[in-house]
């Protein structure tokens, strides 16, 4: 191995889906890229329910059976009184379709980045950003206990929910407790579930200001998890407690072979995702969907746009905020409206009690959703419940 330079065109912090797609895209366009990851194994531990839409995933990568754990046909949504509605995969398809094996998926993406020419360093944690003349010029990092400096024309923070890169560069990424869903999940096995359907359960006693999910993972197993609003989380009522109750009751003979905990931003995207010499992508830019908590595809989309803009900016020799803002503009054009809508629905959803939720699900019982998109389904809900959803009317015309 040759000695590694400590100056790159682009340094990317974090090797999740956002980081790896950014690295792959920029490296393929000829930039000199380094991606660092603080963990010693990319993708592990998992903090995700691993559900993605098939068509959206295929826009980024050819599905590979090595990292697809299961495939579903649709979803069932359960009201607090257990009434349910069924959505076919095309509808819920916005969020489900495949259950991934994220440990392997994240690794496969990092491998693609490496094959495209990016350098990767694991067990390397960013500890600060270098700012000179008002512009970000690189990072300080720790690798195997040794401090080092890595210089780069552009630093890209793909450092997930716990992102510090933005804060260090003067972008306030702090989430309020109400702007995070905090969750726990068990991989439960040896249980009898319908492997063809994802389940979503609503209700204040099950998952206040959130929902519980059951995502089939093949072989008599499923990701059973829930997330609740960070502002309603307290001692004795934490995700882990609520989940234990549900699993003990529903799957008394199930065996738990993995515990996952995590938080997902539900604030809606940052007002500013770039500054001079710096870009934020994925959960670091709070791009996850405020309603569903889904963030894998959003992170990958952001990575692709950011990688393209960063590589162009490098070849033009202009990494100013004004230049890098093109990424933010394109990203907002593609996702801004949808996430704004999601945020509005979420803000209404968290104020609903069990009787509201029952009414909502009853109002659409028996309706055939099999040809509708998620947006169309929400539109039907608003139309059927004008009084309850009055604040959302304008968003669904």
């Amino acid at each position: 191995m040759t000695a590694k330079p400590d100056k790159y065109d682009i340094v990317i912090v974090g090797a999740g889906p956002a980081g790896s797609i950014t690295a792959k895209t920029a490296a393929a366009l000829g930039s000199d890229v380094l991606m660092i990851e603080k963990r010693q194994a990319i993708g592990d531990p998992v903090r995700c329910a691993e559900g993605v839409s098939k068509p959206q995933l295929k826009e980024h990568i050819e599905p590979d059976e090595r990292w697809i754990a299961a495939e579903v046909k649709g979803s069932r949504i359960y009201a607090p009184d257990s009434t349910s509605v069924e959505l076919s995969e095309d509808v819920s398809g916005a969020e489900v379709g495949y259950t991934l094996e994220r440990k392997l998926f994240d690794r496969a993406l990092a491998n693609e980045a490496a094959l495209a020419g990016a350098e990767v360093r694991v067990k390397t944690r960013a500890t600060g950003v270098i700012i000179e003349g008002g512009s970000v010029k690189g990072i300080t990092a720790m690798h195997l206990g040794e401090e080092c400096e890595i210089r780069a024309d552009i630093v890209i923070g793909a450092d997930g929910v716990e992102s510090k890169i933005g804060r260090w560069a003067g972008i306030d990424t702090t989430l309020k407790p109400s702007e995070i869903e905090t969750g726990a999940q068990f991989l439960v096995t040896d249980i009898d579930i319908d492997q063809d359907f994802c389940e979503f359960h609503l209700g204040a006693s099950i998952a206040p200001s959130g929902y519980l999910w059951v995502f089939p993972k093949g072989n008599r197993s499923a990701n059973v998890g829930l997330a609740i609003g960070g502002d309603v989380c307290h001692q004795g009522n934490r995700p882990i407690d609520l989940l234990r109750n549900f699993v003990e009751e529903r799957y008394p003979n199930g065996k738990i072979i993995e515990i996952v905990v995590g938080g997902v931003p539900t604030s809606g995207p940052l007002e500013e995702m770039v500054t001079d010499g710096l870009m934020l992508v994925g959960d670091a830019a709070r791009q996850s969907d405020p309603l569903t908590g889904g963030g894998i595809i959003n992170a990958m989309d952001a990575g692709r746009i950011a990688g393209e803009v960063a590589a162009q900016a490098i070849s033009e020799g202009n990494v100013s905020k004004a230049r890098l803002r093109e990424y933010e503009t394109i990203w907002r054009e593609r996702h801004g409206k949808r996430l704004k809508r999601s945020l509005a629905v979420k803000n209404r959803f968290v104020t609903m009690n069990d009787s509201d939720l029952n009414k909502l699900v009853h109002s659409v019982e028996g309706i055939d959703f099999s040809t509708m998109t998620l947006f169309e389904m929400l539109k039907v809900l608003v139309r059927k419940n004008p009084r309850m959803l009055i604040s959302l009317g304008k968003l669904f015309v």
Binding site: E162, G230, C233, R238, I240, V261, G262
Partner: protein, 56 residues
């Protein structure tokens, strides 16, 4: 003082994202709290597993 029970923590980073002053750091498999922590307890509030708390 803020205490993190590292035998319980699942190193998910949720606590890091809500600290108003950036005093929490998820190193790799443990959480460190910087000296400028104001003991506001925000981090403890959102922990999914109850691994971080304000110690009296």
């Amino acid at each position: 003082m803020i205490g993190v029970n590292r035998y319980k923590c699942g190193y998910c980073g949720a606590c890091v994202s809500v600290c108003p002053i950036g005093a929490v750091e998820l190193v790799e498999t443990w959480v460190e709290i910087a000296d400028d922590c104001t003991e506001c307890g925000t981090c403890a509030g959102v922990c999914p597993i109850g691994a971080i708390e304000v110690l009296k």
